[in-house]
């Protein structure tokens, strides 16, 4: 079996698995990194949203063989590592996670790792454009939440953006 090497949450990993296995299953089933959740497997629900080199992506739609050895994958477990220690909050977490805790966004929690990873990428994108997050930006988020926590997600992203 081919060896797959890449960086996940700051650590280089090597896994023996076929090239075409989607990264989500390599993370979850082989590496035991279960923060990214399965919700559809076809890049629709966005529950598995993680970061690759700092941008949001969905590992359910990426064959592991297409990940380069220097590519940095960040899952919710590694999100605090995307900011400096000084930028982390009271719980030692990324400012967006801290905003999520303060707003008590979570209900069942299943989609929330993906929601947070998508929110961070959105805020980074908007900030790079030199502007503030608008209601129209929030409307573009495709991550689904069947508990309907959207109201608090919108509040938390606005709050988290101001902390980032």
């Amino acid at each position: 079996m081919p060896e797959q090497t890449f960086i996940v949450n700051g650590e280089r990993v090597t896994v023996d698995v076929e090239d075409d296995v989607r990264l989500l299953w390599v993370l979850r089933d082989l590496l035991g990194i279960t923060g990214p959740k399965y919700g559809c497997g076809i890049n629709v629900c966005k529950a598995c949203t993680s970061h690759i080199n700092g941008k949001a992506f969905n590992p359910c739609a990426v064959p592991v063989g297409s990940i380069g050895s220097e590519d940095e994958v960040t899952t919710i477990e590694g999100l605090p590592g995307e900011v400096t220690e000084q930028q982390r909050g009271a719980n030692g977490l990324h400012p967006m996670q801290e905003a999520w805790l303060e707003r008590d966004v979570v209900q069942c929690g299943y989609c929330q790792p993906g929601q947070i990873m998508a929110a961070v990428a959105l805020v980074n994108r908007v900030k790079a454009e030199g502007r503030q997050v608008t209601s129209a930006d929030l409307d573009t988020i495709r991550n689904i939440c069947r508990c309907g926590t959207y109201t608090r997600i919108r509040e938390a992203i606005t709050d988290g953006a101001s902390r980032m």
């Binding site: 890049n43 008590d104 689904i144």
Partner: protein, 765 residues
């Protein structure tokens, strides 16, 4: 026998253990007060509702729940209910923290495995958890506190009266102190148990109950550490999926290429089971590939060839004549006839279960709201006695009624037994949408008689595809009663649930509500709020028609015919806070509706925008349509244990109500449901959700809690429907309003699950 000495004094127990274990009877509750006044022509649900039945069902059993004090100073408690997102582990921790004078974050609440001795009392449903556990959990915690104080008095050389317990530390008059952790062993009971009388805190003494509190599992959730069934690591339980038939509930006849699929990368087992063909592999990705490669001969399912239209015709033909209206000169009839299409209660966390079945016993892990009947039915399936089947309840990623059933657990057990290996079964999203449980299709007809400014009669008749209640009250006795041949058992159950939940909360003279159920071929179940959303929508739309007939404002009409003070309060609250009657542009409008259930009352005022600029928004693979722009929701739930959690449940219910009104339904064509993805089944998304949502928790005169998990749906659904009718000038007659328009390209049925995409790196953002 457990008993209440009076409304605040109860008897609990200290039972033998290594550290202090305090216990109370789970069915401990003070008897419901007799109704001082019988309202005029009360409906059954007003006098004795579903929650009374769920609470009473458990009275004959004697069974203990225990609060344990640990040496690290924490308290732990196994909750015999399922946490599925509704926040009951947090509210339970709050109840314990309150009576124990311990910080909430020092209380550990886990979920109890199936406990058959609890009989009827391990069912999570009907928004009943807090109603039925409020008193017993506090009694157990109070017993622990009293016992700790007794032990502290000896250690500190003071009298109990001289001690102060705070934050897990007991301090004597002389300033010396001892922690709960230090007392845990000293306070432990010897063998056997002894009864302890305790006095619960008064409402005036509450410092935790009623205080907005963040969830105890939030930190785990936002860091990816919260485990759902598919995250639980069980040795050798490899990923497993099932290839399912192209028609609903079709069954496998033979596998034509078993050896070929067994040879695929990662695949360890292929096995034909009653529901399809199961594959087990090193990763779920390889399971998906194997499911797609399987070539299976199928026997068509029971609804082969059927579609929405044929099922609706069958439902229509089962409709009974409406009850005769009073024959009064000058009386006029106002009526409505509404269709509600199939809807999915699929959660984000698809049906999943881990099963490790050995020749001498089995262990199951799954998100289960009726674990006792699951254990009993799995034992039957495996040919084992129930005591050989250990059923663990895992936190679930949403339920919405879905996890009253244990479809995945039963299937996983069968697969594990057949393969002779542990399995981690996960349903593909396509399976969960197409083969999972649905809210039944139905019609609701309403006829009201009006004479001048009075409503003389109000008849309502719901006719629908059967709602499956074969989980019974959570154990096999009532489940078996609901499974009597010919649907008779289930129909009796359904009629009971209907009668115990439905009300027309207005003074409308002679009120009749009836239920007819037909067609037991579908996988149905109680979707959040069961019958109420459909019944209330039909009712409130006709209420708006009645108001128009009398040339009255919809809000003022609802006030005039209201007999319940609590309902009047929430109605007035939303009208004021939501600015009822404010001037709005053409194509936008307000709608207002009320609901009464789960010992609580609610009102919702929404604003909707149906103008072309809004409905014409173009978003890839989405339904945009009219947008609810503002929601004001008020609830009097009785005593609100955790107002922050209650607000969250209402916010979720609001999004459910919007989805039911505007966008979300399943389409049955040629014997199968078409929906296979979240871009097919249009639950509310960010572009649909209201930018402005305000939930008001109204202070209540009630001293006991009501139910929260389902309470937000019905009034919102009805208010959105009423607003849409007023904005467009046309009263909708089917829900969701967009059902006739198929807004997606259906995915394949053979293979039954879509291919995993490969273009993820082209879509980074």
């Amino acid at each position: 026998m457990p008993y209440a000495v009076d409304r605040r004094r109860f008897v609990g127990y200290v039972i033998g253990g290594a550290t202090l274990v305090a216990a109370a009877d789970l069915v401990l509750a003070d008897p419901p007060p007799a109704n001082a006044e019988i309202p005029t022509l009360p409906q059954p649900a007003e006098l004795y509702d579903l929650n009374d039945m769920l609470t009473d069902a458990a009275r004959p059993t004697a069974n203990l729940i225990t609060v344990t004090i640990n040496e690290d100073g924490t308290a732990s408690f196994e909750l015999p209910r399922a946490e599925v997102g509704q926040g009951i582990t947090t509210s339970t921790a709050m109840l314990i923290a309150e009576e124990l004078d311990l910080p909430v974050d020092r209380v550990r609440v886990t979920l109890a495995p199936a406990r058959p001795e609890l009989l009827f009392n391990q069912l999570t449903g009907g928004s009943n958890t807090t109603i039925s556990t409020y008193t017993p959990i506090r009694v157990a915690a109070a017993v622990a506190r009293v016992t700790l104080l007794d032990a502290a008095a000896i250690v500190l050389g003071d009298t109990v009266a001289g001690l102060v317990a705070k934050g897990g530390v007991i301090t004597a008059r002389n300033g010396s102190s001892v922690t709960y952790g230090e007392l845990a062993v000293k306070a432990a009971g010897s063998a056997g148990s002894r009864a302890v009388e305790v006095e619960l805190k008064t409402e005036a003494e509450f410092s935790v109950i009623g205080t907005p509190t963040n969830r105890i599992d939030a930190l785990a959730a936002v860091t990816g550490q919260k485990d759902y069934t598919t995250d639980v690591a069980v040795p050798d339980a490899l990923p497993t999926m099932v290839c399912r038939a192209p028609t609903l509930n079709g069954t496998p006849v033979s596998v034509r290429n078993q050896a070929q699929v067994e040879a695929m990368p990662g695949v360890t087992h292929v096995a034909q089971v009653s529901t399809g063909v199961a594959v087990r592999a090193a990763t779920f990705g390889q399971c998906i590939d194997a499911v797609r490669a399987l070539d299976v001969a199928w026997k068509a399912g029971p609804v082969a060839g059927e579609s929405d239209a044929t099922i609706l015709r069958k439902v229509r033909s089962a409709q009974l004549p409406m009850p005769k209206l009073p024959d009064t000169p000058l009386a006029q009839t106002v009526s409505g006839d509404f269709t509600f299409w199939f809807r999915s209660n699929s959660a984000m966390d698809t049906n999943s279960a881990i099963a490790d079945v050995r020749p001498d016993g089995a262990t199951i892990w799954s998100g289960l709201k009726s674990p006792i009947v699951a254990q009993q039915q799995i034992a039957l399936k495996l040919g084992m006695s129930p005591d050989k089947v250990k059923v663990n309840v895992v936190t679930a990623g949403g339920s919405f009624g879905r996890r009253l059933f244990f479809d995945a657990a039963l299937e996983a057990a069968e697969i594990s037994q057949k393969m002779g290996a542990p399995v981690k079964l996960m349903w593909h999203r396509a399976d969960d949408a197409r083969v999972g449980r649905t809210h039944p299709l139905g019609t609701c007809r309403v006829q009201a008689t009006v004479s001048g400014t009075n409503v003389l009669a109000f008849n309502q008749s719901l006719t629908c595809v059967e709602t499956d209640f074969r989980h019974g009250l959570g154990e096999i006795i009532t489940a078996a009663a609901a499974d009597l041949p010919g649907g008779v058992g289930n129909l009796g159950f359904a009629e009971t649930i209907f009668a115990l939940t439905q009300e027309v909360p207005y003074d409308f003279g002679a009120v009749t509500q009836t239920l007819v159920e037909t067609d037991d071929r579908f996988n149905t179940g109680s979707m959040r709020n069961i019958y109420s959303p459909d019944v209330r929508v039909a009712s409130e739309l006709v209420v708006d028609k009645l108001a128009a007939k009398m040339r009255m404002d919809p809000y003022q009409f609802r006030r005039k015919f209201q007999r319940n003070e609590r309902l009047l309060t929430v109605l007035d609250t939303v009208a004021q806070a939501g600015e009822w009657g404010r001037s709005m542009p053409t194509g936008t409008a307000q709608g207002i509706a009320i609901h009464k259930e789960y010992k609580g009352v609610s009102a919702c005022l929404v604003e909707i925008d149906t103008r072309p600029a809004t409905t014409g928004r173009q978003i890839r693979d989405a339904v945009t349509g009219p947008r609810v722009t503002r929601v004001t929701f008020a609830i009097d739930v009785g005593l609100a244990i955790n107002p922050r959690g209650l607000e969250a449940q209402m916010q979720g219910g609001i999004n459910d109500g919007i989805a039911l009104a505007l966008t979300s339904s399943l389409h049955l064509r040629d014997g199968h449901f078409l929906e296979a993805s979240w871009d097919n089944y249009f639950y509310t998304r960010q572009w649909n959700t209201p930018p402005d949502v305000r939930v008001i928790v109204v202070p209540s005169e009630e001293k006991v809690p009501g139910g929260a998990g389902e309470a937000g749906v019905a009034a919102t659904f009805a208010a959105v429907a009423c607003a849409y009718a007023r904005a467009t000038g046309t009263m909708p007659t089917q829900f969701p309003i967009n059902h006739d328009q198929l807004s997606f390209e259906p995915k394949s049925f053979v293979p039954p699950v879509p291919e995993s995409p490969t273009n993820g790196l082209d879509l980074i953002s």
